[in-house]
Amino acid sequence: MPEVMQEPQAPVLPGVVAVAFSTAYLIALLAVEMQPLVIGLLAFGIVAVLAAHYMDWLDPVSRSFAEREGVLSAYAILAACVVAAFFHDNHFVLLLFVTVLLYAVATLGLNIEFGYAGVLNFAGASFFGIGAYTSAVLNTYTAVPHLLVLLIGGTLAALIGSLLLLPVLRTRGHYAALVTIAFALLLKTFLEVNDVLGGPQGMQVKGMSILGWSFNDNFEIGKIEMSFYLNYFVTSMLLLCTTFVLVRRLERSWIGLNLDAIRLDETAASCFGLDIARWKITAFVLGNFVIGLAGALFGMVGGFVAPNNYTFADSLIMVSILLLGGIGNPWGVVVATFIVLVLPEKLQTIQEYRFLLYALIVIVVLLFRPEGLLPRPVRRYFPRGRA
């Protein structure tokens, strides 16, 4: 039996320090209002990252993340809770945070389709919308328990996505792109002209409530008033953690191996006996389920769904988040979602220009660093020190 050399495990400290700094930075960024302060803070952040890169401080950080992921994930969750606790009565910041978390979940779903299996999906926002509309309709017209509504939202998105399976499987490259683009446009127009689902006016969504605890009321712990968005924060955090773990496990399992094989070279993969159709279907359906799930929860958070929220342009935003963060890297997805969603909110002056900036950034990334900000690390076949 070949002996795998046991190297000492990478220390946790660099990762912890990185997480701590990021938390502090995030809290600062979310708290400031005045534009000059925001710009200063952003500049400081960019300079800090570049300086760390030059002084080779980033290498130990990525190594600790790669090897001690479990511990660092726990710290990341803790960090998120600290941020939420800090802003416990600030509705808008919490709403922004929850939006980021849910978009991250949806983009992780997209990652399964795009990053692992190589199935093009330019209708991510449409499936997000299907989930949202499901929770709108079910909450308004039925008394289905809300947790079940989330699952139904995901299932419905997966089911409707499977209508597209035949064209998606039979087409390659640009043709495949067209299928999902056409679907994105089709769905938006359908939602707009359909009066049953509210038409362009959209629908109100009743807030979530589990076992009588309504998520839409502010509550108090002792004398401290808490924003009702904290309820949604806890739920979204749970959803994100579950999805993250799922994606990680999927990637490391033989399923992930199969998906990677199919993405890299279909002909070779089928030569080795992999059933391409089966794996593509798995990735597509699973990805859409996750996206729909996130969409259903988001519908309840925002309390409102309208066709204009789920256009082709929004799908492109999800794709740009994926590309910016690094295709196939869940951490990259989370970081990129923060950047893409928080920055325009904070930098009011660029709110107008945000679509332009996203597109330019993606072009630059594709031209000069196609792997994204946090490239996907090479697959490690021999796990080290894993219990």
Partner: protein
Amino acid sequence: MSRIVRQLGLFFATALFVGALVVTAQAKDKVKVGFIGPLTGGVSVNGIGGRNSAELAVKLRNADAKATYEYELVVLDDECKPNVAVQVATKMAADKEIIAGATHYCSATAIATVDIYHKFGFPIIVWGAVLPDITYRNKYAEVHRVNGTMIDQNDVNAELISKLGFKTVAVIHDTTDYGKGHNAYFSKSLAKLGGKIVGTFGVTSDQQDFTAELTQVKALNPEVIYFGGLTPIGVRIRSQMDKLGIKAVFDGTSGIVSDAFIQGLGPLAEGALAFREGASTEKLPGGKFFLEKYAAQKYDNPPEAYGAFSYAAMDLILDSIEKVGPDRRKVIAELANVKDRDSIIGKITFDDHGQNTVALITKYVVQDAKFVEWEDSEYASGKRKLSGQK
């Protein structure tokens, strides 16, 4: 201490320290009030006019030595889209520093956001949206409106059409609640007066090509085409009517009372009808004063049809804050008691749903590239005739 505890300690300390620094660095002095309107998109001239008017009210108040507080206006853009409106409304209402707001020109956005203002307890006064449901669907103490609703508008519209002898009308309306509301009220009013609606067509508010609908309309041969929607598609429909050779009268609502309508159509706008609640700005009680002060600020855009209402709404908000202080609940209580309050648009009284009654409806017709009041126009005196008028 164990490593873990040290790590944790370092962690929390950094986070809280930086946070505390940042928070104390910001000062909070002024009283903030808000304004929401469509600053971009097809109806932006109305939104910008409204914003300038609200800004004017705040500026004049800040220049007033007797004012107790200094005011800052927070402006957000709802793009006349319900989903964007919901986002900005949440943002404004969730910000505890903003006490009250003058909101919305587009009915589609106003109706989508009433629940949010109620959820956050944020008092608002609507300045331009005419859909009755905004104030009448729920009894929310937070929601008020200074301009009138579309019910009276459509009554007067139907009256004028019947008086001029037109019997057959085709209705084209946009599919937002605004257009659907107009369709509902106009159809009711016209039916009462014996007119006939030969066909009803719903179109999306950003539709480009109307040849399909207009070809069907042409086959129905109505004398009047009633349009329930906003200026951008009004312009398109009118010009495509001309392309297909449809000679019916173009009858619009307050949604097309805007310079953009005339600019977009040029000579084709001639003879179009429109209606609006309230007198023209010059004829309002405080109209001359408002127009003078507005002109003195040298804004790029005119106040447009609803600028005066926006000014009145903001003024009322500022009055309330002056009286009871910058507290949302007290402002809501104060606004509930508004009765016969003087303002530049006349006396304002909020009924139990927060709705002000504006009795007068002005009829307009486009004459020589301007909106002229019907009574003053050459169409009323008979010198010119509308298309198909006997």
